[in-house]
Every structure is written in structure tokens, then in C-alpha cells.
């Protein structure tokens, strides 16, 4: 009996010590998070009120206004992490205008912002917010999983996003994606592009393992490009929003991004099966000739690139510092394949370009395609 009692006491003591250790660690982590200030960024002022340059018409609260701006998600470790921010295109290292909105992934175009984020209600519950440039929420949509990619058409009327559906990983450890497209003019939401009719290599195709991610929308607001994966292959697909169809064009193209002139696609190409090395490299595909060019960025790249103009693409890259988990910097590289990568700004992800607004405050729909 004595042995039994000793075991009980010893067992209870050990378990209590372990639980106390766990709780102590969590509480300490909690204090560290809450007391952490802005990171050690050299050239960011951290002043939310810092202006972006001269602008007459826009309200003072606008995230971006009259001048060309780069909208991105701040990646400073600490309290600034995840805040939707903007800098002047002319001075990307200059003062940042930071909002209080945290996004995991964001994009902006023509006065509209799409922000994918965790809801305030429940950890692990995500939503897509459509906002104007004063950060007024116009609409919100529940997400089926973790934010991955977000895009708007250049006139801000079509929004698209991809999330990782994680429910099935509860038991199997596998992942799948879900991609949705929203027409902001009509409010029509295509919640799952996998429901579109698929033509693979010219033949109708259906399979349970189809995943689609990384949409980029063309200027006609009807054509789009995306990645389709099935049977461990990835394809570039051309989509038709009105016809609800997807057609494969080419293999091994992920996260396409259409150039402003609509002639080329920047994308990530899997160049190594060794997932631990540098599986992807940034490439540009000419849509007319279907020739692809590797760009000068050779580090581990995993993003949907942004065209700053017809000659330059921008993208996020992990800092790679051991104490900076999930922290990216923004880089640029020439789209020609020459040159070398250049740093655009420190501590940022999800780059988007918000051009100077012309007088019209709301996006003007182009000649509407029949839907």
C-alpha cells in the first residue's frame, strides 16, 4: 500500500511540475508578445500618421491616396506584425502609414483592398474583408481555411482569393486549397473554382484531387489565369468567369501574375523535387510564344509576384533569420531575366501597387461582358 501511495504522490507531483512548466512558458510568451514594440527596422519611422506625400482630395484617414503607393503587410516582429501598411512608391524605404487592420494576406487596386485575416471571434477562424482605401469594410466572407493568396483585377472590380482547407488535415495530414472569385459589381461569389468545367489537354476532366490556387485576373474582368493541380502535376489554366470554365495551357506553372500589358505571366516554377532546398524559381512566361525565362532571383521563392511596371516584378522573401519566423522582406528583380535582385523594403509581405487615383473615387466598370 505504501508503494501505491508513493507512486500516486510522485506521479501527481511530476504531472503538476510539467503542467506548471507549460503554463509558465505560455504566460512568459504572452508577456513577451504584449510588451514587444516595433522591430529594429532602420528606416521605418513607425509613425502611423506619417503622410505619403501631397494629396489634395483624399481624406486624411486613407491608407493610400493621391500618389503611387505600395500597399503591403508589415512584417516587423512584434506588435507591428501583420498590419496593413502603405509606403510611397517613390520612397519605399520612407515613412510607413500603418493601419490597425491585421491581414495574413492582402492586395489593393484602384481604391479597393482585399484583406484575408483571422476573425476576432475565434482563433483559427478566417474571413475575407473587402475594404475601400479608407479601410471601411464594404463586405466580408467566411473563409474555409488559412489565407494563402489574394488578388484584385486592375480596376478593382474582381477579387480572388485562395485558402488552404485544413479540416481534413485533422486526421490525415494532407492539404487542399479552395479558391473563390468575387465580382464586386454584382456581389456574385464563385466560392469554389473546382466546380468550373475543366478541360485538361483538350479533354473534359474531373477528379477528386483537383486543387486550384493563385488567381490573376485580366483587364477584361472575365479572363483569368490560375494554377490547377491534380495527380501531383501543376498546370497553368486560363479561366473564363462567364463561361465558368478552366482550360489547361501548360505544365509546371504556379501562382501566375499577369503583367500590366497582359502579354506575360510571372510565376513560380518547380525546379527541384527536393522540397528542402529551393523547390521554386521565379520565371516569366510570354503568353504569345509560350517561352519562359528564369529570373535572376535564385533564393527560395514562394509568393505570387507583383508587377511594379512592365519591366519589374516584386515579391516577398523570408529573411531567413533563425529568430524571425514568418518574417519577409520585399524584393524586386527585372522581368527580362537579367540584372540582380534589389531590396524594395524591409519587413513586408503581400506587395500590391496602388496607383495614384484619378478623380473618379470609385472603380468604373469597363464595358460589361455578358454574364
Amino acid at each position: 500500500m505504501a508503494a501505491n501511495r508513493w507512486r500516486l504522490v510522485a506521479g501527481a507531483a511530476c504531472v503538476l511540475v510539467l503542467l506548471a512548466a507549460a503554463v509558465t512558458y505560455v504566460v512568459r510568451a504572452s508577456h513577451q508578445v504584449r510588451s514587444a514594440g516595433p522591430g529594429p527596422a532602420a528606416n521605418a519611422t513607425g509613425s502611423p500618421a506619417a503622410g505619403l506625400g501631397a494629396d489634395e482630395g483624399a481624406p486624411a484617414t486613407a491608407l493610400f491616396d493621391g500618389s503611387d503607393a505600395i500597399v503591403f503587410v508589415d512584417n516587423h516582429p512584434g506588435l507591428e506584425y501583420g498590419r496593413l501598411s502603405a509606403v510611397s512608391r517613390a520612397d519605399p524605404g520612407g515613412p510607413r502609414r500603418r493601419s490597425d487592420i491585421r491581414c495574413d494576406r492582402a492586395y489593393a487596386a484602384a481604391g479597393r483592398i482585399v484583406c484575408l485575416r483571422e476573425t476576432n471571434d475565434f482563433v483559427g477562424d478566417h474571413e475575407a474583408l473587402i475594404m475601400d482605401r479608407e479601410l471601411q469594410v464594404l463586405s466580408s466572407y467566411p473563409l474555409a481555411g488559412m489565407p494563402s493568396r489574394a488578388r484584385l483585377s486592375s480596376d478593382g472590380t474582381i477579387a480572388a482569393w485562395t485558402v488552404f482547407v485544413t479540416g481534413d488535415s485533422y486526421t490525415t495530414g494532407t492539404f487542399s486549397t479552395r479558391t473563390s472569385i468575387l465580382d464586386l459589381r454584382t456581389g456574385r461569389l464563385e466560392s469554389n473554382l473546382e466546380k468550373f468545367s475543366i478541360a485538361l489537354g483538350g479533354k473534359p476532366y474531373r477528379a477528386a484531387d483537383v486543387n486550384i490556387w493563385g488567381v490573376t485576373v485580366a483587364a477584361d474582368d472575365r479572363t483569368f489565369y490560375a494554377t490547377l493541380a491534380t495527380g501531383s502535376r501543376t498546370y497553368l489554366v486560363k479561366g473564363d468567369l462567364a463561361a465558368r470554365s478552366l482550360t489547361t495551357l501548360r505544365q509546371n506553372v504556379e501562382c501566375p501574375s499577369l503583367s500590366p500589358d497582359g502579354t506575360r505571366i510571372a510565376f513560380k516554377k518547380r525546379v527541384s523535387e527536393d522540397a528542402s532546398g529551393r523547390p521554386w524559381r521565379l520565371h516569366v512566361l510570354d503568353l504569345a510564344t509560350m517561352t519562359e525565362t528564369p529570373l535572376a532571383e535564385t533564393r527560395n521563392y514562394d509568393d505570387q509576384a507583383l508587377w511594379l511596371d512592365n519591366d519589374t516584378v516584386a515579391y516577398g522573401l523570408l529573411t531567413g533569420q533563425p529568430d524571425q519566423i514568418g518574417v519577409h522582406d520585399l524584393w524586386t528583380v527585372p522581368a527580362s531575366g537579367g540584372g540582380t535582385p534589389a531590396r524594395l523594403l524591409d519587413f513586408g509581405s503581400s506587395p500590391a501597387l496602388a496607383p495614384a487615383l484619378t478623380p473618379a473615387p470609385t472603380p468604373t466598370p469597363p464595358p460589361a461582358p455578358a454574364t
Binding site: R7, A10, G11, C14, V15, L18, L19, A21, A22, V23, Y25, V26, V27, A29, S30, Q32, V33, Y81, F122, V123, G124, D125, H126, E127, P142, L143, A144, G145, M146, S148, F164, V165, T166, G167, D168, S169, Y170, T171, T172, G173, T174, F175, S176, T177, S191, N192, R206, A207, A208, D209, N211, D274, A275, S276, P279, D302, L318, I325, G326, H328
Partner: protein
Amino acid sequence: MYVSTARNSDLAAGVRLSHRGGRVAANVVALGAVSMVTDISSEMITAILPAYLMLGLGLSPLGVGLVNALYGGLSGAVRLIGGHLADRSNRRKAIAGAGYALSALCKPALLAVGASVAGISAVIGIDRIGKGLRTAPRDALISLSSTEGSLGAAFGVHRAMDTLGALSGPLVAFLVLWVAPGRYDAVFVSSFCIALAALVILALFVRDHREPLAHKAASLRAATRLLRHKPFTATFAVACLLGLATIGDSFVYLLLQRELDIALAYFPLLPLGTNAVYLVLAFPLGRLADRIGRWNVFALGTVALSGTYLLLLTAPSGWPLLAGTLTLYGIFYAATDGVLMAIAAPQIDDLLRTSGLALVQTATVTAAAGSSVAFGAAWAWAGPDAALAVAAAAAATTGLLAWNLRSTATSRPDRT
């Protein structure tokens, strides 16, 4: 050592759970506690791993997912090896403990390997090895700690506790992240502490069962000879068939989610619904199996599985589909998983108990992995409806076979 008096004192210290049913041994409850606490620890990680990989490390989960698919076969092989080692060394608790320890060490290791996909894949692989190693010795200990008439209840109690842990794990992880936003390291560290607590419970409160004269009897040849013993062969065959009729959780939830497009954000809650039903019914159905016959309850489970597929096939809309599918799928788990172990255990000599149970588990798991791949192919080839119809027919066939076995004796062969 207290080990020598184990079985008698277990039964004496048994927990009285019902008036009519048998007692569930204290050792089973202790093993249930180990599983519960371990599952809290491991499901904490499972719940946040995708977020950690993506938002924390900036990795693309699709690449990691491909690597994961390889581990199914590895786990089956480890299970068989672990079962054999446990019988041969006569140290089931030690082998199970090694499995639990291996998985516990994976928690800090995941944090240590950082953003290396190869490192993360290796750690996840080691975690699966740990899980494969411990399952059969644990189930052997449960069966050896229980009287034959209460095996169903014993496995029911264990599976219920196990599931309770699996349900709580994600909640604990979310609580940690709510207190310390973005600090995934806090989840890993607290998960490690909880896994160590499970090891403490295993070391101090679970009693081993050592069979006299074990070494000679537990040869590999003896283990393969198990398959010549008719009742066990039938059980093994049903286990294979059950595996073939199982299309996999992800397909069930994927199909359900497609039918119910409204509830996108609630996708992660689907497994919770199934597990809640499993949790509630595991013990009652286990005890029912002891009373009305284990094959009868097992057959009921396969009918529930067939019903799950038929519901998905006919797809009535909205809440009836959701509630019906999750309930039937939970009944399927509660009526087959532990019950199959309770059927198989008495058919296997004590000396080979771990190897025998490992055989049955590996058969089910391997067949299920193959079936899941086949289901995906059938979906692409003939569409989801035809694939579902075949799966429903396979489940019904399994049920018929099980029902035919209902009168077979569950006794083991005489030890010779």
C-alpha cells in the same frame, strides 16, 4: 516489483462502471489516461501545424502534404515489427513506452528543425513511427488486463478516453495561441510538457504483463501460424474487407463539404462532430458488444458506414445530411474500431497477443490506404456517385460477412 501481482490486483482494483456489465480494469483506465493525455499533446500540434508551416515558416503546405503520403506504409511495417518485438521481449509496456517517448521528443524537434522541409518531414515520420510502435502493445495490454467478457467495454472505455483527448487537443492549442498570439513555440513547448506527463502516467500507473515462457513461443513463425487458426483468419479477412470499404476521412468530409457549400468556415468542425459521436458511443456500444455479441455490433457499424456513403450519394440537402452523416460515421467508428480488437484478442494466444493485434490493425490500415487511393482513381474515372456506390456495397458485404460470423466461438485455440 509490483509487476508480479499485476493481473489479480488489477481485477481487484477494477472500476465498477455498471451493474450488469463487467468491470473495466484499473490498468485499462490508466492506459486510457495515457492515450488521452498523449492525444491532447499530439492533436495540439496537428491543429496548428498547417498554420505554423504556412504563416509561421512561410512554407507551402502542398509540398509538405505530398511527403506525408509516404508515411502510411511505414507506419504499417513499424506496427508489425513493434508487435513482434513486444511479444518476443515480453516487454509490452517498454515497447509502448518507447513509442510514446519517440513521439514526445518530436515536439521540441519540430521547433528545432525550423523551416527545413526535409527536417519537418523527418520529424513527422518519426512521430508516425512512434505511433505505429505503441498501438499494438497498448491494445495487447488492454486485452491482457481485462476479463474476456468485458473486452468490449474495456476497449470502449479506452477509445472514449482517447477521443476525448483528441477533441481537447485543438482547444488547448487555440487557448495557448489566444493567450500568446503568434507564439507557436509556446504550443510546441506546452505540448511537449503534456506528452511528458503522459509518459509519467505510463511509467507509474500502467502495469506490464509478462507471460511465462514467452521467448520461444513468440517466434515469427508462430506469429504467421496465427493465420491458420480459422476464427482468427476470418477476423483478419473481415479486417481487410473493412479497410477496403473505408474511403478515408478526408474523402467523407470533402464530399460532405461539397454538398453543403454554405458551411465553408465550419469545415474543421466536421471531424469534431464525428469524434463527439464516437466519444459518446464508444463505451455503450463496447458494452453492448459484450452482451449481444461482438460480431453483431461490428455488423451494425458496417451498416452505419454503408449508410454514410448512401447519404452522401443521395444527398438530401442541409442539416439532415450533415447530422446524419456525422452521426452514422461516428457510430461506424464506435462500433468497429475497439470492437474489432475485442473480437480478435481472445482468438490470439497471450504470448502472441501483440503480434496478432498488430496484424489485424495493419491489415485494416493498409487496406484503407489502398482503398483511399482507389477511391480517388474511381472518382476521376467514373465520377463520385459510382465510386460511392461501390464503397457502400463493399461496406454492406463486410457487414454480411461479420453477421455470418456471429455464432463462431471467440475462444482461442488450446495452447499446445
